[in-house]
Symmetry: C2
Subunit: 760 residues, 2 copies
C-alpha cells in the first residue's frame, strides 16, 4: 500500500481555487521519509511549534465553555459553505476567512483538520454551467464525472479496508505532528443512471449524508475532541422554523431526539439533516463533541469557527451530559412568569419578602460566611488584595446589608401601581396611567457577593423578574445567597422570579437575548459598563461609563465656601464617578487670595494639578499641561482651566463634560439660576459638592445606579428606574365611532387629581 502526504492550501482548478488536499505518494509504509517531511514543511505556511496535547481524548465535553480546551478539531465544510448561493462558483471570501480562522486556531497550538466535500458541489456547479453553455448534457455529465473522480480522496471504502485505514490514520497523524493542517476531501458521490426527461438529475444527486458520516468517522478515528459541521442550517430547532414557537436548540442531548427539526430553507433537506444528526450522535458516542452551525451567514462566517471554540452560543452543541439545572432560556421564562406573579402581589407582600430575606442574612450568617470562606480560599493568590477585600463577607457587612434591605422594603411600598395620571375621557370612560415593572432585568455584577441580595431586593421591590450573573470567583457565596433569596420569595409562592445564571454562561451570550431581557444593569467598574454597552444587542443598558464633573468658581464666589466645596468634591473619595475632575475658574480670580487658598488646599491634599491650555498660558511655570480636557482621573488629580464668565464655563462643560454632575459656586443668585437652567447635565448644583449626586443622598431610598443616558432614567436612579407604565382604560361599551364628527359623544379630557407622593 502507498501512504499519502497531503498538500494543504488552495490549488487552482479551472481558473478557480479549490481547497484541495493533494495526494502525493511517498512510501510503501505509513512512515514518511525525512525528505518528504522537508518537502511538506516547505509547503506549510505555519511556523512549526510543538505543543503537547493538553487534553486526553475519551469523553466528549459537557458544556460549551469547555470547548476552548479542544486540542484536535475537525471542521467539516458542507457544499453550501464552499460554494456561493447564487451558483456562481466558489465562495472565495468565505473560504479564505475559514482558512484564516483555522490558521489562528492552529497557531494557538491546536491540531486542526479540514474536511470538505465542496469539490462535488463546485464541480456540479461548473458542470451545470458548462452544460447550459455549450456541451450536450450527456457529454458534460460524463466528463464531469471523470473530473470529479480524480479528486476523490476518502470514501467509505477507505474505512472498511483495515490497511487503508491505518495508512490514512498514520498519514494524518504525521501531518498533524508536523503542525500541518490536512485538508481531507470526503466524497461518496453516486451518479445513478440518468432517467429519461431528467437530464440534470445525475448532477443533482450528491449523497451529503455519507459525507457527514465520513467526517464523523474520520473525527472519531483520529480521536478528535471537537467536530464542527458547517452548512447552511442554523442547527436543530425544537419545532419547524418559522412557526410561532420555533427556537434554535442550544444544547442537544441524545435523549431529546424526538423533538428535533431544522431549517426548511436549507439546501440540505430533511434527509440530509437527519443524517447530520445521526452522524453527530455517532461522533458523540465515539467521544467527539459536535457543533452543527451555519457557516454561510456573511456577518458571522468570518468568526464562526473561532466563536464556537471560544464557547459562544453558535448553532447546536451536542452533549451527552445533561446539566442538572435549567437552561438560561428556561431561566428567562421562569423569571418572566415569576416576575409577573410578583408584580401582582400587594406592596406589603413584596416588602415582607424583602424583610424575610434581611432576616435570613443574619440568621443564616454562619452558612453564608462558610461559603464565602470557600470562595476566598479558592481565590487566594489568584486575586489582588483589593479584589479579595471586595469578595469577602463579614458579620458586619451582612448586618449593614440587612439594614439596607429593610430600607428598600420601606421604599417599595410606593413604587408599583402608583397612579401617575388620571383622565376622564368621557362619561364612564376613565383612563389611568400606572407604574408597572419593566419586566425581566439582567444584572451583571463583579466579584462582590453582597451585590446579590441588594439587587434581588431592588427587583422584588419593583416587581421585576431578575436574572443574576455574578463573577465566577464568588460562586459559592452567590449560590447560598441566591438560595436564601428564593427561600424568602417562597413565602408568597414566587420563588422563580429571581434566577442565578450558571457561571459557565458567557456575558456576551446573555447580552444577545433581546427577546428575554428588557433591561441590562451592569454593576461594577466603568470598564464593565462599557463592555456591556458594547455587547448588548437591542437591549437597553442602564449605567454610566464616565463621570467628568466640573465645578465653576464664579467671580462672585464666597472665599470661605470654595475651598470647602472643592476639597469635598475632589478629595473625599476621588475614585467615585461623582468626584470632581475639572475646576473652572473665573479669569478675575487668578492671583487673588481665593485662588491661592484653593491651590494651597490642593497642595496640602496632595492633589496633582493639570493645567488647561488657557490656564497654562497665564502661568510662568505651569504644571503639566492636560493631554485632554475630557479626562476622568478618578484619583487625586485635577484639571484647572480658566474661563471668561459663566457662559464660557457652560460652553466648556457642554464641550468636554459627560453630562453627569456640574456645579457652580457663586453668591449671585441670578448667575446661579442661569447656570442651573443652561447646563445640560443630569445633575446641576449650586454651592454644593458634586458628591451629592447619589441615590441615597438624594433620598431615593434605594439606588439602582446612576444613568447618564437621556432616555428613561437620568442621574441617580431609584426604584423608579426599574418601572415603566401602562395605561388602563375602563369603559362601559365605548367605541371611537361614537366620537366621530357626526357621533353622539364628545371627548371631555378632564385631568383628575392623582394622589401625592407621601410627604413627611
Amino acid at each position: 500500500m502507498l501512504s499519502q502526504v497531503y498538500r494543504c492550501g488552495f490549488q487552482p482548478f479551472n481558473q478557480h481555487l479549490l481547497p484541495w488536499v493533494q495526494c502525493t505518494t511517498v512510501s510503501r509504509s505509513h512512515c514518511i521519509q525525512p525528505s518528504v517531511i522537508r518537502h511538506v514543511r516547505s509547503w506549510s505556511n505555519i511556523p512549526f511549534i510543538t505543543v503537547p496535547l493538553s487534553r486526553t481524548h475519551g469523553k466528549s465535553f459537557a458544556h460549551r465553555g469547555e470547548l476552548k480546551h479542544a486540542k484536535r478539531i475537525v471542521v467539516k465544510l458542507g457544499s453550501a459553505v464552499v460554494t456561493r448561493g447564487d451558483e456562481c462558483g466558489l465562495a472565495l471570501g468565505r473560504l479564505a476567512s475559514i482558512v484564516e480562522q483555522v490558521s489562528v486556531l492552529q497557531n494557538q497550538g491546536r491540531e486542526m483538520m479540514l474536511v470538505t466535500s465542496g469539490a462535488v458541489a463546485f464541480g456540479k456547479q461548473r458542470l451545470r454551467h458548462e452544460i447550459l453553455l455549450s456541451q450536450s448534457v450527456r457529454q458534460a455529465l460524463h466528463s464531469g464525472q471523470n473530473q470529479l473522480k480524480e479528486m476523490i480522496l476518502v470514501t467509505n471504502l477507505d474505512f472498511h479496508d483495515e490497511q487503508k485505514r491505518r495508512n490514512l490514520n498514520g498519514t494524518l497523524h504525521e501531518l498533524l505532528r508536523m503542525n500541518i493542517v490536512p485538508i481531507v476531501n470526503t466524497n461518496d458521490a453516486v451518479v445513478p443512471p440518468a432517467e429519461p426527461n431528467s437530464d440534470l438529475q445525475g448532477v443533482n444527486v450528491i449523497s451529503v449524508k455519507d459525507n457527514d458520516s465520513l467526517a464523523a468517522r474520520l473525527a472519531v478515528e483520529m480521536k478528535t475532541d471537537l467536530l464542527i459541521v458547517l452548512s447552511d442550517v442554523e442547527g436543530l430547532f425544537d419545532s419547524p422554523p418559522g412557526s410561532d414557537d420555533a427556537k434554535l436548540i442550544d444544547i442537544f442531548y441524545p435523549g431529546d431526539q424526538q423533538s428535533v427539526t431544522f431549517g426548511t430553507k436549507s439546501r440540505v433537506g430533511m434527509g440530509g439533516m437527519e443524517a447530520k444528526v445521526k452522524a453527530a450522535l455517532w461522533a458523540l458516542q465515539g467521544g467527539t463533541s459536535v457543533v452543527i452551525a451555519n457557516g454561510t451567514h456573511p456577518k458571522v462566517s468570518g468568526h464562526v469557527i473561532t466563536d464556537i471554540v471560544e464557547g459562544k452560543k453558535v448553532g447546536t452543541f451536542f452533549s451527552e451530559v445533561k446539566p442538572a439545572g435549567p437552561t438560561v432560556e428556561q431561566q428567562g421564562e421562569m423569571a418572566r412568569s415569576g416576575g409577573r406573579m410578583l408584580a401582582t402581589l400587594e406592596p406589603e407582600q413584596r416588602a415582607e419578602i424583602i424583610h424575610h430575606l434581611a432576616d435570613l442574612l443574619t440568621d443564616q450568617r454562619d452558612e453564608i460566611l462558610l461559603a464565602n470562606k470557600k470562595d476566598l480560599e479558592e481565590a487566594e493568590g489568584r486575586l489582588a488584595a483589593p479584589l479579595l477585600k471586595r469578595l469577602s463577607l463579614s458579620t458586619s457587612k451582612l448586618n449593614s446589608l440587612a439594614i439596607g434591605l429593610r430600607q428598600i422594603a420601606a421604599s417599595s411600598q410606593d413604587s408599583v401601581g402608583r397612579v401617575l395620571r388620571r383622565t376622564r375621557i368621557a362619561k364612564n370612560l376613565e383612563l389611568e396611567q400606572v407604574t408597572v415593572p419593566i419586566g425581566v432585568l439582567l444584572v451583571i455584577f463583579e466579584s462582590r457577593p453582597d451585590c446579590l441580595p441588594q439587587v434581588a431586593a431592588l427587583a422584588i421591590a419593583s416587581g421585576n423578574g431578575l436574572l443574576l450573573k455574578g463573577g465566577k470567583e464568588a460562586a459559592h457565596s452567590n449560590r447560598i445567597l441566591h438560595l436564601l433569596t428564593q427561600e424568602a420569595l417562597s413565602i408568597h409562592g414566587v420563588k422563580e422570579a429571581v434566577q442565578l445564571v450558571n457561571t459557565r454562561e458567557e456575558v456576551e451570550d446573555l447580552c444577545r437575548l433581546d427577546k428575554m431581557i428588557d433591561l441590562i444593569i451592569p454593576r461594577g467598574s466603568s470598564q464593565l459598563v462599557r463592555d456591556i454597552q458594547k455587547a448588548a444587542k437591542g437591549i437597553p443598558v442602564m449605567g454610566h461609563s464616565e463621570g467628568i464633573c466640573h465645578m465653576y468658581v464664579d467671580s462672585e464666589a464666597s472665599v470661605d465656601k470654595v475651598t470647602r466645596l472643592v476639597r469635598d468634591s475632589k478629595c473625599e473619595y476621588p475614585a467615585a464617578c461623582n468626584a470632581l475632575e475639572t475646576l473652572l475658574i473665573h479669569r478675575d480670580l487668578l492671583r487673588t487670595p481665593l485662588f491661592d487658598q484653593i491651590i494651597d488646599m490642593l497642595r496640602v491634599e496632595q492633589v496633582k494639578i493639570h493645567a488647561g491650555p488657557k490656564f497654562a498660558s497665564y502661568l510662568t511655570f505651569s504644571p503639566s499641561e492636560v493631554k485632554s480636557l475630557r479626562t476622568e482621573y478618578g484619583d487625586l488629580e485635577l484639571c484647572i482651566e480658566v474661563v471668561d464668565n459663566v457662559q464660557d464655563a457652560i460652553d466648556h462643560i457642554h464641550k468636554y463634560g459627560s453630562s453627569h454632575t456640574d456645579v457652580i459656586v457663586t453668591e449671585n443668585e441670578d448667575t446661579a439660576e442661569f447656570f442651573l437652567q443652561h447646563v445640560d447635565s443630569a445633575c446641576v448644583f449650586w454651592n454644593a459638592s458634586t458628591r451629592f449626586a447619589d441615590g441615597y443622598r438624594f433620598g431615593l431610598g434605594a439606588e439602582v445606579g446612576i444613568s447618564t443616558s437621556r432616555i428613561h432614567a437620568r442621574g441617580p436612579v431609584g426604584l423608579e428606574g426599574l418601572l415603566t407604565t401602562k395605561w388602563l382604560l375602563r369603559g362601559k361599551d365605548h367605541v371611537v365611532s361614537d366620537f366621530s364628527e357626526h357621533g353622539s359623544l364628545k371627548y371631555l379630557h378632564e385631568n383628575l387629581p392623582v394622589p401625592q407622593r407621601n410627604t413627611n
Copy 2:
C-alpha cells in the same frame, strides 16, 4: 514595443496567493489579436456583458450620492490592506472579499481596475521572515529583490515614455472592453544601500508615496470616474486623531488643505499621508473623484468598496464642488445649540413660535401649494395614487394643520420645566427634579409634507433641537415648510433649532450619528420603523413596528356590547396599529346567540375569519386555519381562537401578543380587574374599543407616536415622551463629609409638595 495582456485573479506564489497581474507579451502593437482575446476570455470568470458608458468623464462628482453613477473605478490597495497586521503573510480573507466586491461591481456593468503594491509589502514580510529564520541578511535582501523585480509592472517610467504609456493605455482599454478586471501592480520600491548597524533598513524602505501617485496617474490617464484608495488610515481628520476635537472629515475640498491631519497609528506615516492627499488632489484635478478609506477593519472590509460606491459615508470623499448648505454634522451642532436656546425660553415664547407658524401656514398658503404642485408634477406617473394623495396638500389640509399646531402650542405650556419631585435633603439644601428636553431629535418621515410643521411644533413645544429628514418626493414642499418654520423660530432668535437635512443624505448614515442625535422617531409605515430600528446604531428609536391587539370576550360579557366593540375595533379602520387582530372567545360562548351575533356581524362587514387551532377543532367546516397566531392582518381579516377562561386568555396574549393594546369584554368587575392587572401590555382596556389607544383620544394633547418599548415611554406618547429630567440641587456650602457618621448634619429627605397638573 510589446503590448501586454494582464491575467486577472490570484496566482500562487511561494505557497501564497497573490493578486497578480501576469504580463503576457502578445504583440508589437497595442492591438490584441483575436486568439489572445479568446485566451484572456478563458481566464476571466465574469460573464461577458457589454454595457455602454453611462457617464461622460470630465468633471468629478459633487457629492457621495453621485458615486453610484461611477462607471469606471480604480481601487488602489495599500500594503496594509494586502498584508496582515501581524506580519504573518497575506490578508487572504480581506483580499478575497475585495475580489468579491470588485466582481459584484463589475457585474453591475462597471469597469473595475485594481491597483496594488502589495507585492512589495508582502515580499518584504517574507523576506524579513526568512532573514529571521535562516539566511544572512544581505543574501535575503538580494534574493528578495530579484524576486520582486520580476513582478513589477508599472513604474513611474512607464508614464514618461509616450509609447509605453500608449501601450499600457491601449492594453487596459482592451481588457476593460472585454469585461476583464485588470490588476495592475504599481511599484517604485527603492532599496538604498544598507547602512551599517541597520540590517533591516533596506527592507523597510518602500516609497508608498509614489505608488499612490502612480495609481492617481493611472486613474486619470484611464479617464476613471472614481479612485478608491484603501489603506489602514480612516481618512483625513480635522485635528490630530485622539485629541479632544478630532473628527473624521467626510468631504474634503481642495481649499481646506491647511486643516488636514490623519490617523497616527497607521503604517502610512505623516509623509505617506501627505502624499496620499497630494495624489488625491491631483486625480481630482484630472476629473477623477477620490475616496480615501480604511480597508483593514474586519467588520467593514467585506463591504467597504461597495459601500463607497453606494454613496455611504466611509472615509474621506474628495470633492471640488463645495455644496451651498452646511454639512449634516454642522446641522447637528446647530440643532443642539439652537435647541438649548429654545429650552431656556419661557413656555409662552415657545407657544408664540408655534402660533406664528400656524399663522404662516394659512398666510403663505399660495406659496406652499405652489411648491407642493411642483412635487406633485414631478411625482406624476412615478408614484401610486395613494402616495400621491399623501403627498398632496390643500387649503383644508393646511387649515386643519394650523388647528393642530395651536393645540400643540396649548399643551406645550406645561411640558418643559415641570417639577416632578422636590426633596428637602437638609436645611437650606433642596433638590428638584424637573423636566427638560431630551436634546436633539431626528425625525424621519415619508412622503407626507404635512408631517414637517407638525413634528417641528412638537419639537418646539418640548424645547428639543430637531433634524428633519423628509422623503425626496416632497422636497419642494418640505423646503418651503421648513423656511416658514425657521421664520417662526426667528421671532425669538432660535432659527437654527430646526434643521432640514439635505435629501442626498442617506437615512442609514444619519442613524449612525450617535454623538449628535439623542432619539430617532420614524414616522411612517411599520416597515420604515423596522428599517430604522435595524439601522440605528446606539441611538434609541421611538416607535412601534407591530400591533397585534386582542379582545377577550368573557363568559359574562354582555351580548349588546360585544358586537359593538368588535365592530369598532376591527372594522372602523383595519389598517391602524390599534385595530383588532385576534378575538379570544370563552369556550362557554360557542354556539350561543352571542357567538352567532358576532359571526353574523363579521359576515356583514365582510371580515375574513381565520380559525385558531382550538377554534378549528370545534368546527365541522372550519374557515381557513391560521398560519400563525402572531399575525398583524391590517385588513378586514380576523383570527378567532377559543380560550378556557380569563387566565387562558392572558396566557395567550402574553405568548402571541405584541404588548400593544388588549381588551376584556365582561360585566364581571373582578374578572375585569384581574385582566387589567395581569395583562402585561402598554394599554389594557375593559369594555372599550382597542381603537382608543391613541394620543389624541387619551387627551395627551399632541401625539408623538405609540411606543411598545418598555423603556422611556410606553403606549401612546405625548409631549412627555420628548422630555427627560434633570436634578437641580441648591445649597449654601454643603459638603457630603458633614453628613458622615461623625459629621454635624443628618439627612432629612423630606418630600415637598409639587404642583399638580392643571385640572379642568
